[in-house]
Amino acid sequence: MTDECHGFLGALAPDHRTRLLTFSHETALPAGTRIFEEDGEAHRFWILRTGRVALDVHTPGRGTDVVETLGSGELLGWSWLFEPYRWHLGAQVLHATRAYEFDAHEVRAAIEEDPAFGLAVTRCVASVAIGRRLKASRMRLLDLYGPPGARAAPGGGPR
């Protein structure tokens, strides 16, 4: 299984995938690297090949909470595609990571110029990255493994 045919890239048609990759270069990110910060300008994005990256948010008095982790095949960053092009969360490398790094300006220009490519990339970001993560986040909101009682309804108690 190669990194081109699964995860985010695997969801793109081969010609669009090849075109997208022309805007990228390979990069290695050592553990501990701060990739971006909340509210920073989103002018790059990554598709992870190996390793693990944490998306986090800083809370005064509580430190940094990891909200989600991303791994092999996943898209890191989608704020570059939508105005105001600023990151919602911070990102830090947990385990040494290799990735394709993209120049967001170039990709946005290509999207504007070629509607078919633009639709394919936008759809892919919307469904594979945003849609799937939204579903996952909503499920976590339910706290499914949490203790009973918090969500208990009337009608007797658990056994």
């Binding site: 009973p148 969500r151 208990a152 009608g155 658990p158 056994r159």
Partner: protein
């Protein structure tokens, strides 16, 4: 209706009285219909005089009234509030007892007190089918309920074919009556006409034949056979209700999200009366009781209704929280999923659920409405 059998004989009223006395003399607890508290109930009887001679019933949705009859018939009444499950699958029963032994290890003893040997007199064909339905539930699966099985094996069944259906009866459309064809020890058909008051009797078991042989009987003549046949045939034409003539199992499967469920559950109080009077409803709950020392504990099993919120409780609450889901569970189980679970319908058309519903919900009316809604939806889609 097996009125033509070689051993078909005639019993008169004295002979019926003799049957009760004889069954009791054979060590059986005889249970039959008798008038009590304004209803025809099932209770232990000791003589023919206990039977409801001269009583009929007027039935409607949410209504039950005794009515005197001029013909003096004993079995010209349809289902009362109880059914035979009261005796075969009692409301409350101890299953086992545990007592802490000298080594601290609890000693568990199964409750295997020998049950009474029942004789049931006056089992209606629909109720005979209901007994067979409960047999499949409690003894035919991978596990057998040992206490039910013992009671059932020892029971002697005297069926009385139905000649007087009520306004809430629909056994014909369920294929369960008004004639009895198998699964009994003795079958009687009551005939009251110019020829007098008598019972055409035939046996379907060795013990049935042995019992008949000890009673004062005479061979049945063709006239009586014809009268018995005619009485049952006429009853078949006088059913007060009928289910729609469609595959009810498929109907239930296809209408799980029908609007009609909203309509019916606006009337349903989720009281569970229908489950208590239903002759096939078998659901129970487990109850554990402990004495003050904690060294003696008992496990009891008692009837429970699928209308109770507690019935489906999981760690975060009941699965069937709405009244809609609970009525739908009961009705679709009776008419539909019972086939999947136990190989037959769970409804025998006795009409008790209609009579004893405080708001008069009628399962046949609901089935017709669901069928109608399905037909309209199909028409709109085509």
């Amino acid at each position: 209706m097996r009125t033509g059998g070689r051993d078909a004989v005639v019993l008169d009223r004295d002979g019926l009285d003799g049957l009760i006395v004889l069954l009791a003399a054979r060590g059986r607890t005889v249970i039959g219909p008798t008038v009590r508290d304004g209803a025809i109930v099932l209770a232990e009887i000791s003589a023919g005089g206990d039977l409801p001679y001269g009583w009929g019933v007027d039935l409607e949705a949410g209504r039950y009234r005794l009515r005197p009859r001029t013909d003096g018939a004993a079995f010209a009444h349809s289902a009362g509030p109880q059914s035979w499950k009261t005796f075969l699958h009692p409301q409350r029963e101890r299953q086992w007892t545990a007592r802490t032994g000298p080594d601290g290890v609890p000693l568990v003893t199964e409750d295997d007190t020998p049950p009474p040997s029942y004789a049931f007199l006056g089992v209606r064909p629909c109720d005979l089918r209901a007994i067979q339905v409960q047999d499949r539930v409690l003894t035919d699966g991978p596990h057998t309920d040992p206490r039910y099985r013992r009671r059932r094996e020892r029971a002697f069944l005297v069926v009385v074919e139905c000649t007087e259906p009520g306004a809430t009866c629909f056994c014909v459309s369920m294929g369960t009556g008004p004639a009895a064809d198998r699964g009994y020890d003795l079958a009687l058909t009551e005939v009251v006409d110019d020829g007098g008051h008598r019972f055409l009797a035939r046996s379907a078991s060795d013990e049935g034949s042995a019992v008949l042989a000890e009673l004062p009987t005479r061979p049945a003549d063709d006239g009586l056979r014809a009268a018995a046949r005619e009485g049952v045939a006429q009853a078949a034409g006088r059913m007060g209700r009928a289910m729609p003539d469609v595959d009810l199992r498929v109907l239930m499967h296809e209408t799980l999200t029908a609007d009609r469920w909203n309509d019916v559950t606006a009337r349903c109080l989720t009281c569970g009366n229908c489950t208590m009077v239903c002759p096939t409803c078998f659901c129970t709950t487990a109850e554990d009781v402990t004495d003050l020392t904690g060294e003696h504990t008992e496990r009891w099993r008692r009837w429970e209704s699928c209308y109770d919120l507690e019935f489906t409780h999981l760690q975060n609450g009941p699965v069937r929280a709405s009244a809609l889901s609970r009525y739908r569970q009961w009705a679709t189980h009776k008419l539909g999923t019972w086939y999947d679970q136990f190989g037959s319908s769970g409804c025998v058309g006795c009409g008790r659920c209609i009579v004893w519903c405080p708001t008069g919900i009628d399962i046949t009316e609901e089935a017709h409405a669901l069928n109608q809604e399905r037909a309209e939806a199909r028409q709109a889609a085509s």
